[in-house]
Symmetry: C2
Subunit: 430 residues, 2 copies
């Protein structure tokens, strides 16, 4: 039996509390699985009231996490403070410099500073684990980095933000407006008072940048992620999507080809036959396409105390078992730099909705704008024509380059009879 592994948790919020609970309740089974005791040695939180349970259990308590990260009695520091830089990053750096392993659930920090922190950990010979940073309880980092390690992965995509999926699912099922569902989410505590990280796609972009790195063996390039949120999705578009055989989901999609690295976060029309179309409520799902394995889909809870603690503790258990894999699948020095493909060069099909007042010549103007930019229409839906009243005209296109679509839409927007900003949602072929 090896010597105990001493774990310190920094930050006793929801995830920290869940991790504390898991390590306490499952201590016996973890010891049987790892062959050594995994001990909760210390906790840190500026709010002393959060540490009363720990104190009662004889766990050392710190109001400042930094000295804890340098403490001789600690082998693993679990960073659950959050924030892309600041104290969280400083804590990880301190821990690594003191030869402690680091486990984190902090996607913003990994997306911004992951390569640098991985390099520091590699140099010190310690682990820097972040399973909980992407898709909560789904063991997707392990699957990509180890389970699919015989594959070249060409594409990885997923529903990575439970709040957005909850909102879109509720809009779709109940025909409600975005603002209305968001407000309810905020009242129920499912969405933050400032929800922009979630609903503007930034949280998804953080996770996607990490997935791309571990899937393709490239340096994280968060700044190159095209990011568009779900504020502009309307029940009317949901309805047309259903009519066309699609559902609207916020996806993060990363793919690699000779054209470069494409990373994009935006609402997508996904075929209702695709497994990801059925991922409901606040669930997450990640899909990976490998050259040998073909397609693997993983679904589960992307947030919450229990699922996130499950991922944090899997990382701790890996350390206790002595399992060590390069942070992003290959040593940091071997990570490739892949030129990003700008969003304007994305190629795909598009859904477009215009609100049009029927006037002579309007369709000729619209068709002319599309033709001028070589955008080819696949289908058109127009149901009623009430003279003088704006009605929706919905079009889907064949595959075209984003730049052409954007230019065509600019021209269409200024056609006199088009009375609202045209709506565009990308159609995903999955």
């Amino acid at each position: 039996m090896s010597k105990p592994l001493n774990v310190a948790i920094a930050g006793l919020g929801t995830i920290g509390g869940g991790t504390f609970k898991l390590l306490t309740e499952q201590a016996e089974i973890i010891e049987r699985r790892t062959g050594r005791a995994v001990r909760l040695a210390a906790v840190a939180d500026p709010d002393a009231s959060k540490m009363t349970d720990a104190e009662a259990g004889g766990v050392r308590c710190f109001d400042d996490a930094l000295p804890m990260a340098a403490d001789d009695g600690v082998d693993v520091v679990v960073e659950l403070i959050g924030g892309s830089g600041g104290i969280a990053k400083k804590l990880c750096e301190t821990a690594i410099a003191n030869s402690k392993h680091v486990v984190t659930a902090n996607k913003a920090m990994v997306a911004h500073h992951g390569t640098q922190l991985a390099k520091a950990a590699e140099d010190q010979g310690v682990s820097f684990n972040y399973e909980a940073a992407v898709a909560g309880g789904i063991p997707i980092i392990k699957s990509l980095r180890e389970g699919l390690a015989g594959n070249n992965i060409g594409r990885v995509y997923g529903i990575l933000n439970g709040t957005c999926n909850f909102i879109l699912s509720a809009m779709s099922e109940q025909g409600r407006e975005f603002e209305d569902v968001l407000k309810e989410c905020q009242e129920l505590g499912y969405a933050e008072a400032d929800p922009s990280f979630d609903i503007d796609g930034i949280d998804t972009a953080h996770k996607l940048a990490i997935l791309a790195s571990v899937s393709f063996g490239c340096e994280i390039n968060f700044d190159a992620v095209y990011t568009e949120g779900i504020r502009h999705v309307s029940p009317m578009d949901m309805q047309f999507a259903a009519e066309l055989g699609y559902r609207i989901k916020l996806l993060g999609t990363a793919s690699v080809s000779e054209r470069g690295l494409e990373q994009r976060v935006h609402p997508c029309m996904v075929p209702e036959t695709a497994p990801i179309a059925h991922v409901a409520g606040s669930l997450n799902a990640v899909v990976a396409d490998g050259d040998f394995v073909d397609t693997i889909v993983q679904e589960g809870h992307g947030a919450g105390a229990g699922p996130t603690a499950s991922a944090v503790c899997a990382d701790i258990i890996d350390i206790a078992r002595g399992l060590k894999v390069p942070t992003f699948g290959v040593p940091v020095g071997d990570l490739k730099t892949i030129a990003p493909l700008p969003m304007q060069r994305h190629v795909g099909a598009y859904y477009i909705r215009l609100m049009v007042v029927d006037k002579p010549g309007v369709f000729a103007d619209i068709a002319g704008a599309l033709q001028k930019h070589a955008v080819s229409m696949e289908s058109v839906i127009q149901r009623t024509r009430n003279p003088g009243e704006a009605v929706p005209v919905v079009m889907t296109t064949h595959e075209t380059e984003e730049a052409s679509m954007v230019e065509a839409l600019k021209e269409i927007a200024v056609v006199g009879a088009v009375v609202e900003e045209p709506r565009m949602i990308r159609i995903e072929s999955l």
Copy 2:
């Protein structure tokens, strides 16, 4: 850079060929991921014509696998011969005795002799890896044993046989008879000439027994798996299932409670809202319920050269990286023996279909038989009554014990107006 890892493949059939291809084509990326060369050192097959590529590539060829397993130039033996005992088992024993790691895709062998082989490997300090034995390319063993290692898993279930899922999907979508679809599968090479291993549920039972062991940390107990295949599923039952909001899938389900270990393979009615209801064609899926992570679903290809080779090579890569985890999650000596719960004590809801000629008193007889055994009806469907002609009567029950249901059905079967053997399909609450 560590010294190369020398891999020997025994059996160059479909999976052996795929593994050969993967190790050859991805040699460079595997070296970057593992920090060492993973070399194809030897192959063995009684059919020399299968080894011409290997020979041309300078790989040593053996007609007999056993001497290869004892060869000094080999570090890992990949057993892809198949069969629960015989040469496959002998090969693994020889390899382990000679301190070689073993990787296998052989579910029958692991289900029958896994505990014994794991013990031998543990004593020799080598790995015995079997990711490819369950659900092909889905990295489910790794997910359960490592990714969810912080959880107590209470239930694991899945669609574990692609042939059965293909047949049931085709029956459901095309309204065809079982025999008709099976014949087509055999002509297309999707099903064996003797299909009983697949369609009688034995292959699923092998995989389920392995999943149960790694999920619950208990010794494999294949003999205790209740096993029933899909031969008796009819298009008429498919149609009623759809009407009731269900789909029919062959599931392997293992669960553990204070009542004991329940392991069962049989056709199930699953709610069409459950993710597993949408797993189509020859795909596999595995669902695990953990106490912290809640539910995790994984879906992918359960067979075929590429996906299976992906799993085999993930096991090899783990060895190359020096990652070692107890074969079934805990050391063999710590595996529990959990008393099996006999199928008669299974508790669940049931779908029953009777073919009935309408005669006075028949419903009283049926209701009486159910009441006598305390089986409570939840719903009844009976559409047309043609005097003298048998019509289907479909009932669903509330939760009841299997033994009561079986006894009630025995009595119903001998009611004069019931003209065929009653059909029973268990309803799964997922």
